[in-house]
Amino acid sequence: MNYETVLTTCTYCGCGCGLLLQVLDGEVVGTLPQKDHVINQGGLCIKGWNAHEFIYQEGRLKRPLINKEGSFREASWEEALGEVATRLKKIKEESGPDSIAGLTSARCTNEENYVFQKWMRAVIGTNNVDHCARL
């Protein structure tokens, strides 16, 4: 018999509401709003209240997939990231950095989004970076 709550931040949008994931015997079973959080002050929207529900969804990708000849196959992280890096490098060499654009997500943290735009500008060398919340 084990019940605890884990403090975390909602992953659905950029507001950054504080929430508690309820963990019963190692399984995430529910969400509660964090009462003393400066942003949401004990409230949540419908997405936040159900923030735990996707965790055990069957449809979630657990490993990277590579699309080769029209079908996806499972791959290791090393192989998938290697493939992405090689092809991005090739496109950048052939068509210049401005031929690449990066779209990031509201489901990442502020810090992750910061790192992403930094990576687009400093590593790829383009200002073509945007966010799904602005589409």
Binding site: M1, Y3, G30, L32, K35, D36, G42, G43, L44, I46
Partner: protein
């Protein structure tokens, strides 16, 4: 509490624990963990509702729970409605400070047995209801429609409510509301909940605290609660042996004389 765990009077105690500086619900199973226990006043969580979930998984364990006045009333309602098992719950009472009682306008800011804290004076303040009851019907209707119009249908007032427990909630019953469709319209959404809570609401105010739009839902529930008291002389959470008057399968003694009588 330490003794209760050490002597195995209870298998675990549900309370608040200081977690990275924030009070959060936690099930204490080891006596040494109790050093992190807090009786935080500013942050109340629906502990009794969490207890239903834990007790359903381990129905044979006796679990202790730290309760305030409102939470004890919620326990009474949950035991009465067979959501918790008699004898499997051990309430550990703590009293609220006068400051909290005033802020909550609480008419019973302490449980029947208090282990910790000084008893605060009950606050009988119904000025929120009196103020609105004075208004003409038309203005009152406008007031409520304006308030309900703010609703974003987060279902937070229902989710956090320690007296709401139906496995299938009418507000999302697939026979009534299509999956992927819109939730019930205003004011049906709020009035439905108010009707369902009329003989169960223990006036803890968690619903209003959870509302991100600042709708005074507690005011609505206080009104229906008052109506139930005036009509049937019934106060939810008071006596465990007394059934709610809106129970369809009650003994009939609350039925108002009406058609066919």
């Amino acid at each position: 509490m330490k003794r209760m765990l050490e002597e195995k009077e209870v298998s675990a105690i549900l309370a608040l624990r200081r977690n990275n500086g924030h009070p959060t619900p936690f099930l204490f199973t080891k006596a040494e963990d109790l050093k992190d226990w807090v009786a935080d006043e500013a942050n109340r969580y629906p502990l009794t509702k969490i207890l239903i979930m834990i007790a359903k998984k381990d129905p044979n364990e006796t679990i202790g729970i730290v309760v305030r006045g409102c939470e004890e009333r919620s326990l009474v309602e949950l035991l009465k409605n067979f959501q918790l098992r008699q004898g499997k719950v051990k309430a550990i009472g703590i009293a609220c400070s006068q400051e909290l009682a005033n802020r909550c306008r609480c008419s019973l800011p302490f449980p029947s047995q208090v282990e910790e804290g000084q008893l605060a004076k009950p606050v009988e303040d119904f000025s929120d209801l009196e103020e609105i009851e004075k208004q003409p019907e038309d203005e009152r209707f406008q007031y409520w429609m304006k308030q309900f119009g703010k609703c974003i249908k987060c279902y937070g007032c229902r989710n956090i409510c320690p007296a709401c427990f139906c496995p299938t909630c009418t507000l999302e019953d697939s026979n009534l509301i299509k999956a992927g469709g819109m939730p019930p319209e205003i004011p049906i959404f709020h009035l439905h909940k108010a009707y369902h809570m009329a003989d169960r609401c223990i006036d803890c105010g968690l619903c209003e605290e959870a509302c991100p739009m600042g709708i005074p839902v507690r005011r609505l529930y206080r009104k229906v609660k008052k109506s139930v008291k005036d009509l049937f002389g019934y106060v939810p959470g008071e006596k465990e042996e007394e059934k709610g008057p809106l129970e369809f399968l009650g003994d009939g003694s609350y039925e108002l004389p009406g058609a066919g009588k």
